[in-house]
């Protein structure tokens, strides 16, 4: 295995992990406010289709990214209406949103299948310009990749260093107490969902506009659910989410490296490896979990009317 191949794993991990990290960060914010959004997969699909479509129509990937973000926020607000205003069961409503997303994204994306887009421009990672050509293409990233780690830090700051974050977490821990201290749990949950949706939209935009440069039905391939698993993995913490995404995406890149370097293991088994690894880590971490999940996660806030 050459140095290029190992650096390649790093590069692949960064490329494919970016959309996953945005989605995971979004779900961290949402879950911190006490809401589980099982519909994340559907949100990603609708945002990816919309972002791609808008990019085709406007020939401007930036507008596409913006459209994908807003779409993510909007779909999450629909979900919020169901579970906050109508007090529907979160898990059932989440699954409904997922199927809704499957159908709606297919409908939105249909006219844009097979259309050529102008992708996001890529910039050389500073300081690596002098590497040989074969190496340089590994480290040419679009701005969404450069932004993803700062975004994780920003979300950490937002959650742990601002009043808004404090309110959000308070609502997730105990909405009644938050209400008693003068906060509006419903409004805060809506805000949490909207911010989560914007982040999911960013992830979806990276997936369709920058990474695959394509729209195909069900293109997320379960990444929404992986993101939900990674939230548990990272114990609802935005910085630990980076580690979770690195493990999962790194495993995907590594199994592909094994596959293409002619290792004598069935590719079917190699393809399972990232999921088995994630499961194993979840099992090991599960034993030591204490007080990491928001206390009222998944519970419907009945209000105090």
């Amino acid at each position: 295995m050459s140095l290029l191949a190992l650096l390649g794993v790093l590069s692949s991990t960064i490329f494919s992990g970016t959309s996953l990290l945005y989605a995971t960060l979004g779900e961290v914010v949402t879950e911190r406010s006490g809401t589980v959004n099982l519909g994340l997969e559907g949100v990603l699909l609708v945002s990816a289709a919309t972002g791609y479509g808008v990019t085709v129509l406007t020939a401007n990937p930036l507008v596409g990214v913006l459209a994908a973000m807003l779409t993510g926020g909007l779909v999450n607000l629909i979900f919020g209406y169901l579970i906050i205003t109508r007090k529907a069961n979160q898990l059932a409503a989440g699954l409904a949103v997922m199927f809704f997303g499957y159908g709606l994204s297919a409908l939105i994306g249909k006219p844009f299948v097979g259309k050529l887009i102008k992708s996001l421009p890529r910039y050389m990672f500073p300081g690596l310009e002098d590497l040989p050509l074969r190496y340089t293409s590994l480290f040419k990233f679009d701005f969404l990749i450069y932004l993803v780690i700062p975004m994780a830090i920003f979300i950490w700051w937002l959650l742990y260093r601002t009043r808004w974050g404090l309110s959000l977490r308070a609502v997730g821990e105990n909405a009644e107490t938050a209400y008693a201290s003068g906060r509006n749990p419903g409004a805060i949950k809506f805000q949490g969902l909207f911010v989560g949706g914007l982040l999911a939209g960013l992830g979806a935009a990276h997936l369709s506009i920058a990474f695959t440069m394509n729209w195909a039905e069900y293109m997320t391939g379960g990444r929404g659910f992986i993101a939900i698993a990674l939230v548990i993995f990272s114990k609802w913490h935005p910085i630990r989410a980076i580690a979770g995404v690195l493990v999962f995406s790194g495993a995907v890149a590594f199994q592909l490296l094994l596959q293409v370097s002619g290792v004598n293991i069935s590719p079917f088994i190699l393809d399972m490896f990232p999921f088995v690894l994630t499961l194993t880590v979840l099992l090991i971490w599960g034993g030591t979990r204490k007080h990491s999940a928001p206390a009222t996660l998944g519970r419907v806030y009945e209000g105090t009317e």
Partner: protein, 393 residues
């Protein structure tokens, strides 16, 4: 306020339900309501009352053709190639009527879609996806008066036949081009699944490349999905990280693979549809696509004049069933000439793609000296030739 919320909830609920159903129903089997059904509906009841209300024959289409696709018809890949071939029938024989259904993913969907088409009066069915073969074969027994053509399969029946291009020979030519263009002597191949046909394509590609460049290696990576774009991008990247400098693929739509290769400054060779070239304006070498329109038209015309017979039809470049895309701007003339010469030699029989002796990855002789791999043996291939890196099964 409560009332408004109630109404809103119902509307949202309804929209959710409709879209959830919509994804099942995306097949755009929009049977034109204006066409009067010329045949007895599918109930298969003896047409006791039919003669009484005879539909005026001159109003209806001369033949209703149903076509099912496994994906979207504008995918710049396989499904688009099939759709264009079906559209060619209509262009050549204007009195036919076409019913199309795209995104028919699974076997159950194929069965009900084809039955609906027959109920709408279809007398000829083109089932173009891999997964549609057995549903179509089952229906062929149920509806003996309907002609079924499956694309790319192997089953045959009294009213069920198979048609396909001859991609292996063209893959050999693609290999020649790739073998001459590569500088690292590593060619990448993104494949959906380790299937017999994929193995055959990879083998033909590798043999072609080795014929002009003995040191060449073909590295295969699997995505385990015909349309998992993110996995396709990941696999393409990891092949490029193995110093591959030419990428080819066997997935439904070549869009992601070719776009990714282009964005990394790596050559690509397209498959399925000539439209793939648009995704690689700079690093395109060439590509192959299916152009089955004339053969489909001919099959439809034989159904119309009653001379249709079940033929296991395989037709290649010289029959016009396949075509080679224009070469890209970075391809030197000597490569173009060499590919043309190999094409002539393949047609004259001077070169046979799978002529023995051919050894597999472990050095076992798979095709003996003086023997060739026959067309029907190709669907049982589960080995890669020497010089291929990756697992064939």
């Amino acid at each position: 306020m409560k009332r408004i919320h109630g109404i809103l909830a119902i509307i949202i609920g309804a929209v959710l339900a409709i879209s959830a159903c919509a994804q099942q129903a995306t097949p755009t089997a929009v049977p034109e309501p204006t066409t009067p059904p010329t045949a007895v509906p599918a109930t298969a009841v003896p047409p006791t009352e039919a003669p009484a209300t005879e539909v005026p024959a001159e109003e209806g289409p001369c033949l209703i053709i149903g076509a099912t696709y496994g994906g979207p018809i504008m995918d710049a890949g396989y499904n688009q190639a099939m759709h264009e071939a079906i559209a060619a029938i209509k262009e050549n024989i204007s009195c036919v009527s076409i019913i199309e259904a795209e995104n028919v993913y699974d076997e159950a969907g194929a069965t009900s879609t084809i039955e609906n088409m027959i109920a709408e009066g279809a007398k000829m069915i083109f089932a173009t996806a891999y997964a549609h073969q057995y549903p179509a074969l089952g229906l062929a027994e149920k509806y003996p008066d309907v002609v079924f053509e499956h694309v790319g399969g192997w089953e045959m029946g009294a009213n069920f036949a198979n048609i396909f291009g001859k991609p292996p020979d063209v893959w050999y030519m693609m290999g020649v081009a790739a073998g001459m263009m590569t500088e690292t002597n590593k060619l990448g191949f993104v494949a959906a699944f380790p299937l017999a046909w994929t193995d055959v394509f990879v083998n033909a590609y590798a043999l072609g490349a080795q014929s002009v460049n003995p040191d060449v290696e073909v590295i295969v990576g699997y995505t385990f999905g015909w349309g998992d774009s993110a996995k396709e991008a990941e696999t393409t990247n990891s092949l490029i990280n193995q110093e591959v400098d030419v990428i080819s693929m066997h997935v439904d739509s070549p869009q992601t693979v070719i776009s990714t290769a282009e964005s990394r400054g790596v050559y690509s060779i397209g498959y399925q549809n000539l439209a793939a070239q648009q995704f690689a304006p700079e690093y395109w070498i060439t590509g192959q696509g299916f152009t089955l329109g004339d053969k489909f038209t001919w099959l439809a015309s034989t159904v119309m004049d009653g001379t249709w017979e079940p033929i296991f039809l395989r037709c290649g470049l010289s029959d016009g069933c396949m075509a080679i895309a224009p070469f890209g701007p970075k391809v030197p003339q000597e490569v173009v000439d060499k590919v043309a010469q190999v094409q002539a030699d393949l047609e004259s029989g001077k070169i046979v793609t799978f002529a023995g002796p051919i050894k597999d990855q472990d050095g076992n002789v798979k095709i003996k000296e003086g023997e060739v791999l026959t067309d029907d043996a190709m669907s049982n291939v589960d080995w890669f030739v020497q010089g291929v890196v990756g697992s064939p099964k």
